[in-house]
Amino acid sequence: MSTQKKGWKEIPLGGACWMSSTEYKTGDWRSYKPIWNSEKCIRCMLCHIYCPEGAIKHDTETNKMIYDFDFCKGCGICANECPTQAIEMVQEGKE
């Protein structure tokens, strides 16, 4: 982080947090990336439910499972639990 950190007069009182965790992108932790197959997917929502980050969302308009790679840590739970093997874990950079 190259930005100058705030001094004691600038930060809020009593340690109140002033940034959302969503500004801290954990996606760069990944070694493996989940690749979603729309045809095999039965929209059971288990991937959304089991993701520790909540990085998989169901877009009701397009009926697509949207992966937020800003936060996906590549744990592989979604792929492991998918009942129709609609998710494949591929090495990051090789997808």
């Binding site: 001094g7 004691w8 809020p12 009182l13 009593g14 340690g15 109140a16 947090c17 002033w18 940034m19």
Partner: protein, 409 residues
């Protein structure tokens, strides 16, 4: 001249404290019994049972939980109060730091009692002295009247937006807590007006909004995060700043209260008793100051220029007032009702000594440790101290810098 008419009621120190807390319209009281504080929680529970207060009275299962409940209740916006002593205060130690760091303006009555071991239920200041550095404001009362007055002032001090720090009011165990005194009590309405509604500071939250510093679903906030090496120091500096600001706030609140009640205690931080032209003086805190005043009066009657500096606010340390009052004196005895083992004297002695270190004409300073575990300190022993001070003032020689008074050798 008091603005408000007051009733005189015979009360012991604990009862006076409970009454003050009741009149301050506290929202949450966390209660755990420990001698000699038990009367405070007992009295308060009677108020609750008779519907005289609208307070959540939580009989917690330990002092540690008592302080925890106070912290989170305060963080939710409630005005909170608790009381403890000795081992109870020691058990709370971890949470005292959290209370200060989370900026919760809790008011706590500490009925000063010796720490174990061996277990002792009587008065000394070792319990509160262990909490010197933890970030709580500390006020020591000389008598039950002052304990009553100080609890009321404490809410205003703690909740002041420049301060927002937890505050403890000390009163000597058994000596004050359990002995009857005539206490002038303000009418409920006057106290209610004096303390007002709790003010809550505003902070920026994680949504970029300016919100009150409290737990409120309408304005979410995260309190009590993990600090790494990059921010902890800055948070502590903030606490230190508020402690420094508290010096003025304590004085202002004291003066405002003095106007209402007609009672003042020096300038709120220190009380100088017959000190201006004194050559020799004692420095002490708590109920012993009352005894010292009696001795000073006798000495004065015999033409000896004796005085007393009573420290009322121990934290924040009133450095300026100590320097101004002790400068030019010939010999001072700092009386400690606690001992810092292996520390070459008692805590108050250490503080006074470093405060006057830079004075060009600093007085000779000795430490007299007394009263540990409730050991009585009768007037003749204090008189001996002053006799010694006279000798030191004359000869400039100190035989023993640190000495225990009233100890059987």
């Amino acid at each position: 001249m008091a603005k408000v008419e007051q009733k005189i009621i015979p009360l012991n120190g604990d009862s006076a404290v409970a009454l003050a807390a009741k009149q301050c319209d506290v929202d949450v009281v966390a209660a755990y019994p420990i001698t000699p504080q038990t009367i405070i929680v007992e009295k308060f529970s009677e108020y609750v049972a008779d519907g005289e207060v609208e307070t959540a009275f939580v009989c917690v299962e330990s002092e540690h939980t008592a302080m925890t409940c106070c912290i989170t209740a305060s963080a939710t916006g409630a005005r909170t109060f608790t009381a403890t002593a000795s081992a109870g205060l020691a058990l709370m130690h971890e949470m005292l730091g959290v209370a200060s760091g989370c900026r919760t303006p809790i008011v706590m009555s500490v009925v000063n009692r010796a720490l174990s071991a061996p277990i002792n239920i009587h008065c000394d200041h070792s319990d509160a002295m262990c909490e010197r550095d933890i970030g709580w404001i500390q006020i020591y009362a000389e008598n039950s009247q002052e304990a009553y007055d100080s609890i009321i002032q404490a809410f205003r001090i703690a909740e002041d937006l420049d301060v927002t720090l937890p505050t403890m009011v000390g009163l000597d165990g058994f000596v004050l807590s359990h002995t009857l005194e005539n206490v002038a009590v303000l009418p409920d309405e006057a106290v209610k007006q004096f303390v007002g509604i709790r003010q809550i500071p505003m902070v920026t939250n994680h949504e970029g909004k300016l919100v009150p510093f409290k737990l409120d679903p309408a304005n979410p906030l995260t309190i009590g995060p993990l600090d790494l090496q990059d921010y902890y120091f800055e948070h502590k500096r903030q606490q230190e700043e508020s402690m420094r600001k508290a010096l003025d706030v304590i004085k202002q609140v004291h003066d405002e209260y003095a106007e209402q009640s007609g009672r003042s205690y020096g300038n709120g931080l220190v009380e100088a008793y017959r000190l201006e032209d004194a050559e020799i003086a004692a420095v002490c805190m708590g109920s012993t100051a009352g005894t010292v005043k009696t001795v000073v009066d006798e000495l004065r009657a015999n033409g000896i220029k004796a005085g007393l500096l009573r420290i009322r606010a121990f934290r924040p340390l009133p450095v300026e007032d100590i320097i101004n009052n002790l400068s030019g004196k010939k010999a001072i005895a700092v009386m400690d009702r606690a001992c810092s083992f292996g520390g070459n004297g008692g805590p108050l002695f250490h503080e006074i000594r470093h405060t006057i270190y830079d004075l060009p004409d600093k007085p000779k300073l000795v430490n007299r440790i007394y009263g540990l575990g409730g050991r009585d300190i009768p007037p003749y022993m204090i008189d001996c101290i002053y006799k010694e001070l006279q000798k030191i003032a004359k000869t400039g020689e100190i035989e023993r810098m640190v000495q225990f008074i009233g100890l059987r050798e």
